[in-house]
């Protein structure tokens, strides 16, 4: 009898975590970070160990599950460059070079800790499945696994606040569990129209010791675009959408 009571107590303790559907939680985290279709401005800052910085400002638009485009609006040397992601296809357009060239999620068009997957990020739920969900005090911990080999990181771990369902930390890992980078989400802000999310994402990586990267987010809002703007042919015209 004692054993039965103990088992029931243990089950009772486990109930809150198992009662939450990890996939649904991930969907809520995705939606809390961004509307499904939106536009936003981001500043990417690479900070070197000696304090030197390099900054990039991007205008980014996303539609549905698999369409994202980003346009560099600063600095002057990068102005007019753009990246496009359509499902697993990624292109990089340099005005001087001409036709957009195909790139991969692992490459980096800005250098430093950021790679193209960070710039052209889809919903986490589009690229990853939830393997395991844990509760850690006031936070959930989601263990995610990439759906396909084309995804930049094989595994990620997301720590998210229980109440606001917003991420506080994300670890990006290789298949073998080697840490590639860690993202820290800070400074939750109300962007208006129901968008309340972290405005600062700091990144460090054991692969780039002493280097740090920061993403600052501004003017995020829901906006729907025609499918035709997410095409190779439209890439030179992204500026006309601002």
């Amino acid at each position: 009898m004692r054993t039965l009571v103990l088992v029931l107590m243990l089950l009772g303790c486990a109930l809150p975590a198992s009662a939450i559907d990890g996939t649904e939680l991930l969907r809520q985290i995705d939606r809390n970070l961004n509307p499904e279709s939106y536009e936003t401005y981001r500043k990417l800052i690479n900070i070197e160990p000696d304090g030197r910085k390099k900054e990039f400002t991007l205008f980014t638009i996303k539609k549905g599950r698999d369409k994202v485009a980003s346009l560099f609006i600063a600095p002057a040397s990068e102005q007019g460059r753009s990246t496009l992601r359509l499902g697993d296809n990624m292109w990089f357009y340099i005005p001087n070079v001409g036709k957009p060239i195909r790139i991969t999620s692992l490459q980096s068009v800005v250098g430093g800790v950021f790679n193209n997957a960070d710039i052209l990020q889809l919903d986490y739920g589009t690229e990853y499945t939830v393997e395991k969900l844990e509760e850690q005090g006031t936070e959930y911990l989601l263990h995610l696994k990439a759906r396909t080999k084309t995804v930049a990181y094989d595994r990620i771990r997301i720590w998210a606040e229980k109440d606001r369902k917003l991420p506080t930390k994300i670890e990006c890992l290789t298949e073998a569990g080697l840490l590639i980078k860690t993202l820290y989400f800070k400074d939750v802000k109300d962007f208006g129209a129901g968008v309340v999310r972290p405005a600062v994402i700091e990144t460090d990586s054991p692969l780039y010791k002493g280097y740090k990267s920061v993403i600052l987010v501004a003017k995020t809002k829901a906006r729907d675009y025609k499918d035709e703007v997410f095409t190779l042919t439209f890439m030179p015209n992204l500026e006309s959408l601002r």
Binding site: R52, T104, G111, V214
Partner: protein
């Protein structure tokens, strides 16, 4: 004078580099002022660059004899290039006016030269995201190849040594119509182009008094970019092409281009200086790949079949004629034959990569040993027929906002009567500083 310039320029460049670097050591905290994102109806930008280079002359080479037969420039030849590229746009409603101008200054053994060229100047109207109509001077940039683009029917040829440089466009009327779909066919876009060639309009495109038509139809089908292209109308002979680009795996991309050029006419010169014309349908094609390793080394490998080029024997005949013309000049003092050689060189034999079969390999390493913004690279272009080649190691640095610094050396190797063995120089050292604004 020239001997003094190099050390002083190098010291000056280094001093500028150190000053600019140190100004970034005391960086401020990061902020994002949203006013930075406000869009203005106009924009102005461009770059200024300084590019000195030093060539080591090969005094026995055919092209050295052709260009320096009546002058002695020593063993090395300095050259100073400066350029200012300005571009500006003005947007109002659905219309945008865009202008890109290029001013270049060159100080070489030929003296000083200053040129101003309008690279692009056009009006674009976008009544909807799926439709853009443009009129004016534009560069269309067709093709998927890195070093060469056989299907770029309405573009000036790229310089394979500098494939990322802006090119001067042609005056065209064009449109882009885009349609997106769900399923394996994700995109179709259609680009019709009209190219008028009359006196003072595109008169270097081809035969005058023709209104030429060109077009491109693009498909994104099963995650593959595919283009079908054509050019017709009389200024140039009709040509048809296709290209593709696809990621086989996440880090391996393959691309290719094929162009059929009808009734291609070529003027050939024999070793005795006699000339003859040929005409035939020829094909130019290219196959290439881009491969990225886990350590972020990028390999670009391309094979280019240039059907409009000269065979190894035709190139040997041409170089033999130049050597013979030089011998005739030395013995008689007459440069008539050398002038004839200069004419055919300018017309066809002297263009970059005038042979028929080429290999291109570029290997670049991003951020080696965690040194951010440094990119060492080496580029090799091999003439697969005569086995001569150009090998260019370089290192570039882009760690200072808006400034690009690059140091590049080029070594040419090849026997007598081979393409790279007969160039006027056998090595070149080049420094580039480009500031964007």
């Amino acid at each position: 004078m020239n001997r003094l310039r190099w050390p002083s320029l190098a010291i000056g460049g280094l001093a500028l580099f150190l000053v600019l670097s140190s100004s970034f050591l005391h960086a401020e905290e990061y902020t994002f002022d949203v006013s930075e994102t406000e869009k203005k109806p106009y924009h102005l930008g461009g770059y200024a660059e300084f590019r000195p280079l030093l060539s080591g002359l090969d005094r026995d080479a055919a092209l050295h004899k052709l260009r320096f037969y009546d002058r002695n420039e020593g063993r090395t030849l300095p050259e100073y290039n400066a350029a200012l590229q300005l571009e500006g746009g003005y947007e109002k409603g659905i219309a945008e006016l865009f202008v890109r101008g290029h001013a270049a200054y060159q100080d070489s053994y030929l003296g000083s030269k200053f040129t101003i060229t309008a690279y692009e100047a056009f009006l674009a109207v976008r009544p909807a995201p799926f439709l853009t109509i443009g009129a004016g001077k534009q560069t269309l940039k067709w093709g998927t190849g890195s070093a060469w683009n056989p299907v770029a029917f309405v573009d000036r040829p790229k310089n394979p040594d500098e494939p990322e440089l802006n090119l001067e466009g042609f005056v065209v009327v064009s449109a882009d119509y885009i349609k997106s779909f769900q399923g394996p066919l994700k995109t179709i876009s259609v680009t019709p182009v009209l190219i008028p060639v009359f006196a003072h309009i595109n008169d270097d495109f081809g035969e005058s008094d023709h209104l030429n038509a060109a077009g491109k139809v693009y498909f994104l089908l099963y995650d593959t970019d595919i283009d079908f292209l054509f050019l017709s109308g009389g200024s140039r002979t009709s040509r048809y092409g296709l290209d593709f680009s696809r990621n086989i795996t996440t880090n391996l991309e393959v691309h290719g281009e094929y162009a059929l050029i009808t009734d291609f006419r070529q003027s050939l010169i024999a070793s005795d200086g006699s000339t003859r014309e040929t005409a035939a349908d020829v094909s130019n094609w290219l196959l290439g790949l881009r491969y990225l390793t886990e350590k972020e080394t990028t390999y670009i490998l391309e094979y280019y079949r240039n059907g409009t080029g000269f065979t190894e024997q035709q190139m040997r005949d041409y170089f033999t004629f130049v050597h013979n013309a030089h011998d005739a000049y030395l013995s008689s003092g007459s440069d008539v034959l050398l002038n004839k050689a200069a004419t055919v060189t300018e017309k066809s034999y002297g263009r970059p990569n005038a042979g028929q079969n080429y290999l291109y390999l570029r290997v670049s390493q991003k951020d080696p040993f965690d040194f951010l913004y440094w990119t060492p690279a080496v580029t090799a272009i091999v003439n697969a027929d005569d086995k001569s080649c150009s090998i260019a190691p370089e290192i570039s640095y882009r760690g200072i906002t808006n400034l690009e610094l690059r140091l590049r050396g080029t070594v040419l190797a090849g026997g007598r009567l081979s393409e790279f063995g007969e160039k006027q120089h056998n090595f070149r050292l080049e420094f580039l500083a480009r500031f964007s604004f």
